[in-house]
């Protein structure tokens, strides 16, 4: 399959959710094997992460320092999330849900992320994680009105959006994702589609719920 390029300057305004570790619309990653990033109206990737591990509760994902990574910070700390070649090398597969919106909605989405960047607050693995913050931005933009049903996971947020938005307004892609600067500003998203097969090395994370290579055929683990 040929690579797909999404130019956010073409067609109606779009924003998006990226679920890292989700290998297709109907794949449900283990809870510790998924992460949520979003895409602003100009194609910029943004995500919320937790920093800190000093042996206190933050070692368990509680009371961590929250931080928003934009493209520049993702490029340093998560190259496999924004560089397609790095995603392929590290076998990081993502499922993207793009949502047609109007410009005011896209602007509100960006404003929500700008506010989080300025005042990120804490990260908590339950109740204050990447999906919780992504959800807050979608709510602030008026895309959905309720918080994530049941547990606040990226996959549950994806499902909530799919369930609540008209089918004609959403499209989903799965593959190795990258972003390239667009001469008109913002970023294009590039996707090398991923289709599971016995001939393809299983993506990271594996089925154990970690970012290991456990499980699947064609894995190359150095452990």
């Amino acid at each position: 399959m040929a690579d797909i390029v999404i130019d956010f300057h073409k067609g109606p305004p779009k924003i998006g959710l990226i679920v890292r570790g989700k290998q297709g619309p109907d794949h449900h990653p283990d809870k510790l094997a998924q992460h949520a990033d979003t895409i602003l109206g100009d194609g910029s990737p943004e995500g919320f992460f937790g920093e800190g591990n000093d042996g206190s509760l933050n070692a368990l994902g509680l009371g961590m320092q929250g931080v928003v990574y934009d493209y520049a910070l993702l490029r340093l700390h998560r190259a496999w999330y924004v560089d397609k070649a790095s995603a392929v090398t590290n076998r990081v597969v993502s499922t993207v849900l793009l949502i047609d919106v109007d410009q005011p909605t896209a602007d509100k989405f960006k404003d929500a992320w700008d506010k989080m960047t300025t005042s990120p607050g804490d990260f908590n693995i339950v109740g204050g994680n990447c999906a919780t913050h992504a959800s807050a931005a979608f709510i602030a933009a008026g895309v959905v009105s309720k918080t994530i049903p049941w547990m606040d996971t990226p996959d549950n947020l994806y499902q909530q959006l799919v369930d609540n938005l008209p089918a004609g307004r959403v499209v989903s892609y799965t593959g190795y994702i990258g972003f390239k600067t667009n001469p008109s500003g913002g970023y294009d998203m590039e996707i090398t589609p991923y289709v599971a097969s016995p001939a393809v090395a299983a993506p990271n994370p594996g089925s154990s719920g970690s970012l290991s290579t456990a499980g699947g055929s064609g894995n190359s683990s150095s452990s």
């Binding site: 998924q34 992460h35 591990n53 070692a59 490029r75 700390h77 970012l211 290991s212 452990s223």
Partner: protein, 124 residues
């Protein structure tokens, strides 16, 4: 009784179009898959220090300001060449603690050839 100093912790960064400004030449004392903390929870990709298929390299720095000291680097497994204890590696550094690549120094390489060899390497 004396205790070995804790290894100096280095951290991994994406190359982001950068080349190393220096290399740390280390002799590896340990290579292992990262355990991921209690119940593996630190493998959650939402933690800033999470890495895909994280591996840990420990080694003793051969020369330079850190010569004789131990360093420890966590890096994505796919970014690390096949390395074993006793191998020599060149860690491409962009700052005192930030590493953007790990290179395996060919076994038996003469010391006088090492600078030229390093000058020919590209990271990222």
């Amino acid at each position: 009784m004396s205790f070995a100093a804790e290894p100096k912790n280095l951290h991994w960064e994406g190359a982001a179009d950068r080349q190393p400004r220096s290399f740390l030449i280390v002799t590896l004392t340990n290579t292992a898959k990262d355990a991921g903390g209690l119940f593996g929870i630190r493998r959650s990709p939402s933690f800033a220090d999470s890495l895909p298929d994280a591996h840990v390299l420990e080694g003793r720095v051969e020369t330079g300001p850190l010569g004789g000291n131990s360093v420890r680097l966590r890096a994505p497994g796919a970014e690390i060449p096949d390395l074993r204890e006793g191998d020599r590696a060149a860690l491409g550094m962009v700052s005192d603690l930030a590493c953007i690549c790990v290179l395996r120094i060919p076994a038996g390489m003469a010391e006088e050839r090492l600078p030229n060899w390093l000058a020919q390497q590209r990271c990222g």
